[in-house]
Subunit: 342 residues, 2 copies
Amino acid sequence: MKKKTTIYDIAKELNITVSTVSRALSGFPAISDATRQLVVETAKRLNYSPNKLASALKSGKTFIVGVIVPSVEAHFFASIIHSIEEGLKDSGYRIILYQSKESLVNEVNGVRTLLEAQVDGIMASMSLETDDVSHFEEIIAQNKPLVLFDRVNKQLRVPTITLNDYQAGYMATQYLIDQGYKNIAFITTVHQIKIFNDRLKGYKDAIRDNKLPFSEDNIILGGLSIKDGRYGAAKLLRSENRPDAIVAGDDFTALGVIKKLKEIDETPPKIGVIGFANEAFSAYITPSLSTVDQHPGEMGKACAEMFLQMAGQLNPYDSIRNIVLEPTIVERQSTGNTDAKD
Amino acid sequence: MKKKTTIYDIAKELNITVSTVSRALSGFPAISDATRQLVVETAKRLNYSPNKLASALKSGKTFIVGVIVPSVEAHFFASIIHSIEEGLKDSGYRIILYQSKESLVNEVNGVRTLLEAQVDGIMASMSLETDDVSHFEEIIAQNKPLVLFDRVNKQLRVPTITLNDYQAGYMATQYLIDQGYKNIAFITTVHQIKIFNDRLKGYKDAIRDNKLPFSEDNIILGGLSIKDGRYGAAKLLRSENRPDAIVAGDDFTALGVIKKLKEIDETPPKIGVIGFANEAFSAYITPSLSTVDQHPGEMGKACAEMFLQMAGQLNPYDSIRNIVLEPTIVERQSTGNTDAKD
């Protein structure tokens, strides 16, 4: 019986590396179409067995990474996804996305679905419901890279990319104080305890460090949405000790606050307003909205770099890094920046 | 040797159907956690072989549907995805997403990636580059449902869900005429020929049907973005036969137009502006933006229904339907609706 053709034979025939042959036959995107065609034609000519290829590939990589986010509808997550893709592009990795829709059951299904789809690794930002993280252990058990971003859980010994949320809360408050506001309220949420607790702590510390009076009445706990912003602003404006500025938990909530303030002729910056996340619309509303930029672009870039680093190692969990990004303030009209264009 | 345990034994033991056992063991989401736990415990107690399960599952469905879109960053596609998920929820199907990023090569990779991930079917909206549709033939060849939406290709004999784009162009123009505008310009794009050609034809027919003069100078062909809107508006305003209203190819372009008009004190509705897509920000800018709603919610719902119908058939391509949705106008301040709130 004639000896069977191997990818080494194809490589030798074409005077290229075995790796190039393997990548060309496995449809690796970074290989040029010309090379791929040449390899496939040569493989056929030498009677290379496609079954052999299939089993060879099984042991190899799929060059697919799974990304789990609460929802792609949030601009913040859509931006992170965009920069993850940018960061992975040159390495030939493609991503498939899964949305948890803030449900733990969905998230568990997502991890399983992606592992069944033979992804080479997973990047995830957790749902609001996630209090048990055992489903993520399965990824680690398979020795595949897991990178957590934004909403993370310290129970898992994996790399994380997060924002300094304490600093975000502190900066937003300090910025309003620097603009001359003295009685600052905070509309926030009880969900996703870590991030929002950190921000609230930052807010409180900024108030204290500036020796301003603190009042529990200035903290409105509820949801985050346009409706919640309107409701929160209305409640704050009815109080005896009416605030002269409001920190809103996200830009949608800040938009609701602005709508309410305009209705009663207290249009910002008369009462100052600042949000979080720098959503797509924030620059375009009137007055334009000051906000805390959470740098989703940098976060996605860091996720991609972290993943590639881990993917190149025999044991991806040998050294674990936790990257913390620093927020920045975007100054616009809602806090009195008259130079900001609308 | 003792007879091996089958799922029939488990079903008999628990007095439930074989289907329920199968679905519980395969992690089908519509099964309650209590039932699943009971089935898994009973399976273990009866020494049910997990390998048997694995091979049984291989012949079955994964209950995963792949969805390919140009980008999840566009609100339009994010909304469609949201309503596809809503529409599939009760049936137990979950979706994984793949972005083509307007590249044909990416789209080809996406189809392959999803098929390798053993999806039960694919829904797709094509990239701007897609002129060859052979990669989609593979899905049809596997007798798996393929549903195309919004950006479709008539070469493929598959169900489609589209918007009546001719009507969208006609309605936007007719609406401006009804508001009293007489010289209407159109900033549009040369990409994605079918949709934009249809809209342009609608615009031209509305001008003709109303016996208004038509001028090629009133049509600006380029890209669609805030920058393109500013540029297009500036060009139109320099012309001798200056328009009194502008149809912009999407809401971002319309936003650029509005910015330019505000700078030169021709704030809409002085010059009327209407966009397409009803993006998240459109209600909140000043003046608020009139726009053509393309009903992504209905489109996603129709995709889900179409898929479920096909998935339930032995031959999903036996009868092929093409659904066309009708657009509607959202009247706001940029075309003189003073009742619209900002």
